[in-house]
Amino acid sequence: MQVEETKEFKPTIVAFCCNWCSYAGADLSGTNRLNYPANVKIIRVPCSCRVNPMFILRAFQRGADGVILCGCHPGDCHYTTGNYYARRRMTLLFSMLDFLGIEKERTRVEWVSAAEGAKFAATMNDFVATITKLGENRRLEDIRCKKQ
């Protein structure tokens, strides 16, 4: 008897989280025992503004299927205005990726405060579901990083 092997696609998600709000938000969701998938890899950054467009691209190169940037809500930035700059940058970058035909659902920005543990978990669950539906990142992959 043959058993058909179905390999479930588990996307790799990179989440850049600002140290002051979103990273704490992730912590809170943990202490509140809220679930979010283990394939979300968090990278802590001092501020959402620290995220260079290159970081996003490099995450895709190294095998990410989706990249999400989380920072303080506009107006709440620890450094006063960092996330305002990040907002413009990411808007333009995402628009450019879309212009190059790269699925726009693969990138996202969410503002998550330190008190929003539930929002963090919900956001991640939703993002993972979106990317799972979308499938593997093909258009921004580096083939050399994929072979085992």
């Binding site: 190294r62 095998g63 050399r144 990083c145 072979k147």
Partner: protein, 341 residues
């Protein structure tokens, strides 16, 4: 001497492609480029391809080896390529001449096996230049576009394409596709050759000569103050080196794939600021020094080490492509090349 009618040329291509891959210049939105022939692909009428034919033997990037690490064990996996026979059709005399220059670099000890294999498996069919361009100056380097070399040479005369084997490999190829060809006389193409030579005489660079450079001492040329003005507006890009059929410098680099190391080589350009970067720093820090290196190499150092053979074939690609139109012709003229009468 064999011939085929131009409107039946697809029969010839079909016959070649039946046993091996056939590449020929095809018009694209980036000028003429070598592409694999398949049914429906038509050959470009352009004088020459945008990129040179060196790509066939010396591709821009090429994997050399892979390393895997497990604990303290390192596994080295050399790159194993499978080489297939292939034919390149429509190579011009200048590019064909460049192969001999590349051979001197890659086939002398220690032999570059990657290059050697590609060279071995390729059969080159050259095509004489019926309509040379103003940027052509191959005759300066002793190339005769009326006798284009390669394994098989081809000439177009009106509606007929004449082919003649130049090497054993070429002979074999023509025998294999003999069904698509008919017999012809060698004298038939003499008028074509004569016409090409007349055209070459009329070209603006026909009289370009290196006599003035040959007569100078290497160090005088090296320390000449003319390099400053020549290199002043050089952008330091690598266009000239990458479109050049004889530029052969490369860099070996390691790429960390996350699960091992991929060692590869890629073209490098002496015009780049990190070209000669070593542990102690860089020996050529200004664009003038880099610029001088490129032309001294082609016109002085290379002939010094290779029985007077220059490392330029006069294809004219750098003349057409340089963003600021500084090129080897201007360098030759400024550094003392005279117009011989």
């Amino acid at each position: 001497m064999l011939k085929v009618s131009v409107d039946k040329i697809n029969d010839l291509f079909r016959a070649i492609a039946a046993t091996q891959k056939l590449y020929l210049p095809v018009d694209t939105n980036a000028g003429a480029q070598y592409r694999e022939w398949s049914e429906g692909v038509t050959m470009s009428q352009a004088l020459n391809t945008n990129r040179s034919a060196k790509d066939f033997f010396f591709p821009q990037t090429e994997n050399l080896a892979e390393f895997k690490m497990e604990g303290k064990k390192i596994e080295v996996k050399p790159q194993v390529n499978e080489y297939e026979d292939y034919v390149v059709f429509g190579v011009r005399a200048c590019d064909a001449a460049s192969f001999a220059i590349l051979d001197r670099v890659f086939l002398s000890e220690p032999v570059d096996t990657f290059y050697a294999h590609r060279r071995e498996h390729g059969t080159i069919i050259t095509l004489a230049c019926n309509r040379p361009a103003e940027t052509c100056f191959c005759t300066t380097f002793g190339v005769d576009p009326a006798v284009p070399g390669g394994d098989v040479s081809a000439w177009q005369k009106g509606e007929e394409l004449y082919l003649e084997a130049q090497t054993e490999k070429g002979e074999k190829l023509l025998q294999a596709v003999a069904g698509a060809l008919s017999q012809a006389e060698s004298e038939d193409i003499e008028p074509v050759k004569a016409a090409i030579r007349v055209m070459m005489e009329k070209l603006p660079l026909a009289k370009l000569s290196l006599k003035g450079i040959e007569d100078q001492k290497m160090l005088d040329l090296f320390y000449s103050d003319k390099w400053n003005a020549l290199s002043e507006s050089c952008l330091g890009c690598g266009t000239c080196t990458f479109v050049c059929p004889t530029c052969q410098c490369y860099d070996v680099r390691d790429f960390d794939t996350g699960n091992g190391i991929q060692r590869f080589r890629c073209w490098d350009s002496c015009m780049y600021s990190d070209f000669t970067k070593m542990a102690h720093g860089n020996i050529r820090n200004s664009q003038m020094e880099r610029f001088r290196q490129r032309f001294m190499h082609k016109l002085v150092y290379f002939p010094e080490n290779n029985e007077g053979i220059y490392s330029c074939v006069g294809c004219g690609r750098c003349l057409a492509k340089c963003p600021i139109h500084m090129n080897i012709v201007k360098v030759i003229k400024t550094m003392g090349g005279t117009e011989n009468e």
